[in-house]
């Protein structure tokens, strides 16, 4: 167990260090998120008061669209110089590759969220009046579920030559429950505070989803990486 976590952390560190050196994925995700916000500002007039209603959906649209850009890169970049085979034949548990990739993707998405969500609030002149702690919990649970399935399916689609096209098609249907739950609970926290008692069932659904899919992906991952 300790060896597994140690190998996973080494892979996370390697990915984050490579990202720190190039800043390629992170900057692409940020610029893309900014462009999505600009497009939204054309689609929904920011001075209008009804725009508050679409903010919860926008948070998750930005997270998921920008996340897919990063997920696509996370296994494709290993294919240069055949590093993916290097990872497979190295004396570590295949699940630790999954764990390491999951952590590095999650941290990058978290950083992107930390910049884009305040930016969204400022540009749309939205004053946060919900419970900040609950909001952070929902963000965390939603992102964990999305990245957990996303990393798994990115590894799956990396086997194909047309992986950029394949990943969104196989990812969106599978994450639909977590997207529904995340948007609903964000809406309850930010807008419909009077329905706060139904928030708990959504949060428990997200926690259950995260746990279930994490366990399944963790154990099924070795079937994906076989040569």
């Amino acid at each position: 167990m300790r060896a597994l976590i140690k190998a996973a952390l080494a892979i996370t560190w390697k990915d984050l260090y490579a990202e720190w050196k190039t800043k390629q994925v992170f900057s692409t995700m940020l610029i893309f998120s900014g462009l999505v916000i600009v497009t939204f500002s054309f689609a929904f007039d920011p001075t209008n008061n009804t725009v508050r209603a679409v903010i919860p959906g926008m948070i998750w649209v930005i997270t998921i669209f920008a996340g897919i850009l990063g997920l696509n890169r996370s296994f494709i970049s290993e294919q240069y110089n055949d590093s993916l085979h290097g990872l497979i034949v190295s004396p570590i548990d295949p699940s630790s590759i999954y764990l390491g990739k999951f952590l590095s993707n999650f941290i990058i998405v978290l950083f992107v969220q930390m910049i884009t969500i305040p930016l969204l609030f400022i540009l749309f002149d939205y004053k946060m009046n919900g419970n900040l702690l609950l909001f952070l919990i929902v963000l965390f649970l939603g992102s964990v579920g999305f990245i957990c399935v996303g990393t798994f399916l990115a590894a799956l689609s990396a086997n194909s030559r047309s992986s950029e096209m394949l990943l969104p098609i196989i990812l969106f249907p599978v994450i639909s429950p977590i997207v529904i739950a995340a948007v609903q609970s964000t809406r309850i926290i930010l807008i419909q505070v009077e329905e706060i008692e139904s928030l708990f069932s959504w949060i428990s659904l997200m926690a259950g989803y995260d746990l279930l899919f994490f366990v399944f992906c963790f154990f099924l991952f070795e079937f994906i990486l076989e040569v």
Binding site: L156, N159, L166, S176, P177, F213
Partner: protein
Amino acid sequence: MKEKEIGLLLPKQSTMHRFLVWILIILMSVALYLVFIWSPIEKVMGNVQKIFYFHVGSAWVAFLAFGVVFVYSILFLMKRKRSYDMIAGTSAEIGVLFTAIVLTTGPIWGRSAWNTWWTWEPRLTTTLILFFLYLAYIFIRRMDGAWEKKARLAAVFGIISFIDVPIVFMAIRWWNSKLHPIVFGDSPNQSGGGIEGEMLVTLLFCLGVITLLYIVLLQKGIYIEKTKLAVENYKKHIQEKLMK
């Protein structure tokens, strides 16, 4: 015997399959008679209600087909037999076909019953997601590469996507009970009143016949896959011969 040596041994359709096809033709005619002539016309909906028998039957077969995909995906990962992969792939294709039937007959029913083609009612949403999930499954099977790799990845996705189905159902039920009241019963027997005896007989009969249709289609699909494999082997054989 020469054909066996070179690998071109086309699979034979079993007599059981032919027998089932004839049984199916007879039973399907009986089902059509029951649906359109024997069973009474519903008071409120009129003739449109008859779509209900095929709609429910197709929905049941779609779930059955996806269940078969799930079971054979697990079996494939354990045993690595090509026939298991064939069964799972064929079953998914049939499941997508029947989900498409459900998604087309549903709006026709909805147009006259609810006066709208489509509502984002929970059951409709989940069925649509199911349709997309197994379309994605077929996309994975159409990837480039060796069959072992594709079969392995498709099996993994078949397992992952099947655990999604109950979650989608549960999520939508919570959503529904908390935010929206249930406006529509899915079938006449849910919104009170109860179902007419003759209608129930017809419905059960249709369920049986469509399940038989699924079995026949599955057999046919596996037969086609096996034939494809034999032809592929034969092509390889000829190529090797020409190279010599």
